[in-house]
Structure formats: C-alpha cells, structure tokens
Amino acid sequence: MTIDFIINQFTEIIGNFPVAAFLVACASVGGLLFVLMALNAMVAVYVERKVSAFMMDRLGPMGQGPGLHAGKWGILQTFADAIKLLIKEDTIPKSADQILFKVAPFIIFIGAIIGLSALPFSSSIQAVDLNVGVFYIIAVGSIGVIGIVMAGWASNNKWSLYGAMRSAAQIISYEIPAGLSIIVPIMMSGTMNLQNLIEYQSGSIFGIFPNWIMFQNPFAFLAFFIFFISAVAETNRTPFDIPEAESELVAGWMTEYSGFRWAVFFLSEYANMFVVSGLAVAGFMGGWLSPIPGFLNSPVLGLFWFFGKVSFLIFVMMWFRWTFPRLRVDQLMYVCWKVFIPIAMLNIFGVGIWKLIFG
C-alpha cells in the first residue's frame, strides 16, 4: 500500500512519469525498510545481551564512570560494536572461492529484507499489499539457504562445510511444518491477503476475549506452537543452532567471515527473526489489533500493538536460546519429520472438521 500511495502522490504532484515514480517509491520504501532492519538489529542485540545476562545473574553491558564509555546501562554498546565491525580488516582466505565468498552474505541479506516488505505494520502502513502475502513470505524465506551453502562451500574449510550442510538440511526440512501450520489461518479466514487475515480476527469471543485465530480453536492453538517452533528452527537459533554451534564447530559456516561481512550475516539473522515473528503475529495473534476487542484501534496505535507483539515473540526466542541445550542433527530431523509433520497434518484435518461442525 505504501508504494502505491507514494506513486500516486508523485504522479499528482510532479507529473506523469511512471518509471521515475516507481523508482522513487521503491528507493524510499526500501531505504526505510533497511533503516528498520538496522534499528531492529541494534535493539535486538542489546536486548539479547541484557536478557542473557539477567538470566545468568550478571549484568551484561553496563557503561558508567567518567566519559560514560558505553552509554548509561550500556545502551551505546551495539553502536560501538557496529563501528568496530566496519573498521575491521577485510580478510579473505587465499584458497577460498573469491566470488562466491563475497556474494554469499548479500544473498542472505536479500532473502531477509524482501520478507519485510509484505508485513502489515498497521492498517495503512505496509510496503506492498500482496494478494498472496502469506505465500510470498514463506517462499522468500528459502532464499537464505542458497547463501548459507555458498558461504560454507566458499570458505574452503571443513568445519564451515559441516555447518552449511547441516543448515541446508535443517532449513529445508522445517519449512514443511511451518508451511502446513500456516495453512490453518488461511483455511479459517479464507484469504491469503495479510490485511484481510487481520481484519478477519477483529471482534471478540464471548464478548471479552479477542477473536484471534489462536484462541478460536484448540487445533489452531496447537498450530501456532508448531509454527513458532518451526520458525525458531528456520532462523538457526538454539535449540536448533547446530549449524553455528559455538562449542562444536567454532562458528560453523560463518567461521571465515570477519568485519563487515559478518555484520551482514548478523543483521540478516535478526531480520529473519523479525519476519517470522511478524508472520506469526499477523497469522495467529491478531496483527495490529489491540488485545482489548473494540477499543484502542487506530492506524497509529496499530503500529504500537504490532511491534509489541513481535517484540514479545522475539523475547520468547531469546528465552529459548539461553535455557536449553542444543539438539543433535539426527534428533533434529526426527523431531521435524516424525513429530511436527504428523501433528501439523492432524491440525489441518482437525480445523476442517471443526469448521464443518461449528461453522
């Protein structure tokens, strides 16, 4: 919607130049999305370090004393880390595949940022209002695998190759339960358009509970959990972080990357977390609707509700990371193929029967 809006304004104010209008709209919205991605990474990294520290009975980054060397309570820590990463020396191993090595981070980055373009931030703020929004986000999420395998191969390092192979297997496998679970909201609301999906969830059950999809149906509740856990597996976070397992593979497929290239990987990991949380919120938790049905709904407040719910899900992802040990590769595959997929299929069947009986 926002791109259409900007194109219209451009045509009204300046004149009928369709190509120029398109380019200006895309560039500005793309720039805004990039800024959102960068801000998200900064805030998310700081929150992750603080949350992990508090769970471990320590304080995390704290800046104090003369000169406030990292901002009060360490707020500027991520900013300082970003500057450090930008001025680091760019080392590429001589026996690495030069072209693939340089291109790999950007493919992952592209996969993450174009997923952001279909998320409904509010009833009137969305980069593009696609008619197949859900399908588009799921499809675009697989682009990252190519980048990971390229990175692992191009590093010319046995450990990186290990990590890349495991990651490819993991991401491709976990797309299936994620896709099957996201079918449940589509079945219940009858549309793949994200804005319509959210509008379907307005109203209330019994007058007090919000009419979110995850509350309408016990099978939908189960589908939300399956989707969320598969999403955690897709973003390579613990307990599924075998590809970048720190204590086994040093840093997995990212071992040879340093400086700015590593910063791009990092940025895309947090952007991926944002995208899958955004899809879970839009599909199951009511998107930009407020939790009190009927009140406090407006285009501006909708932005606030959306970001609040997404932040809560990102916090839960961090909570998982610092509590659980990691699964072994074959156990990961067992969980996906033998536990999640049967439950996801059962969900689809159950939701169909429910809708038939209860309408």
């Binding site: 769970m55 471990m56 320590r58 304080l59 704290m62 104090q64 004393g65 909570w319 509590t323």
Partner: protein, 193 residues
C-alpha cells in the same frame, strides 16, 4: 505408541520447568547480581556480604615487598624459592656498624645486629609463582606480600601490571656506585694487609 506420546509430554513438561527457572533468575536480577563493576567498584566487594573482612585474612597473595632496612642478608628466602626469582648479593661489613654513606643501619627494627650490606636484592615478579614460601623462613619478617594482615606495613596493591617486562624486576637494595662498592670491600683487604 504410548512411548511416543509420553516422550512428547515429558519434553514439554521439563522444558517448561527449565524456562520457569531462567525467568525467575531474570526477574530477580537486582538481588542476585554477582558482577563487580570494575573499575568503579573495586575489590573487596563493598556491598555483597561475603561474611569476612580483608584484614581478617590469614594471608594474602599479592606482590612481594621487602623492608630492606630489616634485611640481614641470610639468603634463606633465596633458597626457599622454587623458581629462583629472588637474587641477592651481599658485601661483608662490620657487625652492628652504621655506614651512613650508603644509608646502612647496623641494627634491624627487631634489634638484630647486621653483618652484611645488601648490595643487590632483585625479585623478578614475572617469574614469581605466588607460593609464599619465601616469607616463612625470614627471621626478621622483612619480606612479605602486601596488604591483608600486613596492611599496616604496606597497603594492598594488586594493580601492579606494567607495560615493559623489565619494569617487573623489582629492585629493593639501595643503589651503590662502583666506587662505594669498592670502598666497602676495601676494609677486608686493609685488615689482611
């Protein structure tokens, strides 16, 4: 078949218990925090009640210090060191005699009469293994680790890192010029002659 379902139930149960524990730790951070924010807060910890004071310690392991005016040159600490980081040189002098030119007092603070002038007393702190074996044999208690029970003689000092390695070789003896060293060895030859 039933094992499949008990597995799933066990998993969800135990994972949820674990998550509750970390959440509780996160919420109680103000009470449970164990970080000492150096350099604003220095050890010993000001507020955490560990129940004992620095001065009540039996012994403390920090850098070594020698009160050179009390040293009688008996070489016991040099022999006791397992890594040979103490090096001492002495020149024979009259028993109990004060030699003001090199600021040498004839008696220690405990009343023992000295028979040697200590011309070199170096401790290489980069080799020291902080085992404390050199402090026990000293009859005058002039070599000790600073702080703790010896805070009255020398306050605690644990921030003694240096930039250059040679700065870690501590010299405790008074500096003697070659002429002074010669003069001190002279009386022996005069007595012989």
């Amino acid at each position: 078949m039933s094992k499949y379902f008990t597995n799933i139930y066990d998993t969800v149960n135990t994972l949820w218990t674990g998550m509750r524990i970390t959440f509780r730790h996160m919420m109680n951070i103000k009470k449970d925090n164990v970080t000492l924010q150096y350099p604003e807060e220095r050890w010993p910890r000001p507020e955490r009640d560990i129940g004992f004071e620095l001065e009540d310690y039996n012994v403390i392991r920090t850098r070594l210090h020698v009160d050179i005016d009390d040293c009688i040159g008996c070489f016991r600490c040099e022999k006791a060191c397992p890594v040979d980081c103490i090096k001492i040189d002495t020149i024979k002098a009259g028993r109990g005699e004060d030699i003001p030119e090199v600021a040498h007092t004839g008696e220690t603070s405990n009343g023992t009469k000295k028979g040697f002038v200590v011309s070199r007393f170096t401790i290489d702190m980069s080799e020291c293994c902080y085992c404390n074996l050199c402090t026990y044999p000293c009859p005058e208690e002039c070599i000790f680790m600073v702080g703790g029970p010896h805070s009255s003689k020398h306050p605690i000092d644990y921030e003694f890192s240096e930039v250059d390695r040679n700065d870690l070789i501590y010299q405790f003896a008074k500096k003697l010029t070659p002429k002074q060293r010669n003069d001190l060895q002279q009386p022996k030859e005069k007595a012989k002659a």
